[in-house]
Amino acid sequence: MTDLSKLTAVEIAGLVASGETSAVEVTQAHLDRIGAVDDRVHAFLHVDTEGALTAARAVDERRAAGEELGPLAGVPVAVKDVLTTKGVPTTVGSKILEGWRPPYDSTIVERLRAAGTVMLGKTNMDEFAMGSSTEYSAYGPTRNPWDLERIPGGSGGGSAAALAAYEAPLSIGSDTGGSIRQPGAVTGTVGAKPTYGGTSRYGLVAFSSSLDTPGPCARTVLDAALLHEVIGGHDPRDSTSIPAPVPDVVAAARRGATGDLTGVKLGVVTEFTGEGAEPGVMAAFRESVEALAKLGAEIVEISCPHFKYALPAYYLIAPSECSSNLARFDGVRFGLRVGDDGNRSLEEVMSLTREAGFGPEVKRRIMIGTYALSSGYYDAYYGQAQKVRTLITRDFTSAFEQVDALISPTTPFVAFPIGSRTADPYQMYLADLFTIPTNLYGGPAISVPCGLSDGLPVGFQIMAPTMADDRMYRVAAALESAVGTLTPPTL
């Protein structure tokens, strides 16, 4: 019998629609797989066995009743614990929300349910999505299925590892500085950050509101595109949601899979091909660039002189927004409350609650943000970072006058050993060196596997203009058709 957990979303949806297998069987196969491997991988913070089987039964009943099923009906999906799920625990990887069961669904989750997908549970993440290794989760790290002693990337390490461990064929991540793409790169999976505003932030626990972007993760480009189409599009409950249809990402992925990139012009970002990346990463990247050229793409080099300032600008802007957003965790309306003995004041209880509930990286970022927004420092730090953001945006817009998309490695280095970068927080930040510019600009970008370096996956990044998400899927699918997908070692 076919191992249902090894199938793609497209294959699963086909089997469910034709009646060759049931959504319940598919769901049970993935729950069994989670039961078999997740004590080693720790991709999940919460597995919703009962909810998943109930949703699967509903799909099977709809099919039996002759109802039309959507393209992903009956396909299991794992959801990053940053999105609210009605009645299902949502912790954001933090002790401050331990045990919280939200009274409402996020828009993304609502759309997943409406599409007939089956939510398996909530995946592990760096606390409040702040980190690049999932080591900052308050519930312990997730491990990379390629090598259990290495990190699966972050902040969405759980969502990426669940795919590589065959615990789910699809998952949802959120990308503020690379938290979808970098985990995708180091686990050999596909991760797409949609255009900012192309996917709804309603019910996404806020970290940095001008950057946070939920998006799809999968093992193939087409699966990611199908998921993107289901979750994307305008949401009146998010005031920064773009009132326009989702670009036709599915058609673009199918077109790209034919392996023809004639007429497509791609720009290699000069600043990201220098000494910043490991030799093995650059070798895999260069080979993939040649593969794209063979498919007909025209390749040029493009200099984006301000990209090197993206990392420092981001680590001022994101902490500044976070210091404001996380003020809502005050021990009053939800989550943890510590030290309320009847004598302590509100401020004392608040400070004790936040001290006990937040981990060290979250505290660092809140304090950095508080500093950058202080009078006397505002102009030199936050204000200057916002100006740099303008210049980075101009680098993108001028590049896109010359090329259809920009390309680079997704990350400077492959998955690093657990514990090797936690002592120096700034070393951890460097993992996002190549992914951050896109977030500051707001356009879409995707990471697709492009080979191995010392037996570990390397990611290839494609950055496209705002609302041209389809373009990156076309190039990603073409690359996938040339270099193939990666198969992780058997767990």
Binding site: P102, P103, Y104, Y196, G197, S210, P236, S239, T240, H306, Y309, P312, A313, Y315, L316, S323, A327, G331, V332, R333, F334, L336, R337, D340, S345, L346, E347, E348, V349, S351, R354, E355, P360, K363, R364, I366, M367, I368, T370, Y371, S374, A380, G383, Q384, A385, Q386, K387, V388, R389, T390, L391, D424, P425, Y426, Y429, L440, Y441, G442, G443, T466
Partner: protein
């Protein structure tokens, strides 16, 4: 030269409502100093006449029609509260706080 002193970190913690320990202050002072010295690179960019970008999407007020829509019930809204009383969030005392702080 350090970008930030231990005393300044203690002040930031107070502003951030974080009751950090003495040990944490030692660790954070060093770490925040490294981070701030690194991010200060933004100052190298000549940007005096460049307008700031706060958001990649042009922000305008988004209005909807003023019609009643379903919302949370009081029970739902209070379901995650650490303490509630008479359909309200119950908070620690707020009136005796040191007004001089």
């Amino acid at each position: 030269m350090a970008a930030i002193s231990r005393e300044e970190v203690a002040h930031l913690a107070r502003l951030s409502r974080l009751a950090v320990t003495e040990e944490e202050l030692d660790t954070f002072a060093g770490q925040l100093d490294v981070i701030l010295q690194s991010v200060a690179q933004v100052g190298e960019v000549a940007a005096a006449d460049i307008p700031p970008t706060s958001h990649s999407v042009p922000l305008t007020n988004v209005l909807r029609e003023d019609v009643v829509r379903p919302g949370l019930t009081p029970q739902e809204a209070l379901s995650g509260a650490p303490d509630a009383e008479e359909q309200r969030f119950r908070v620690p005392r707020i009136l005796d706080e040191d007004v001089a702080s």
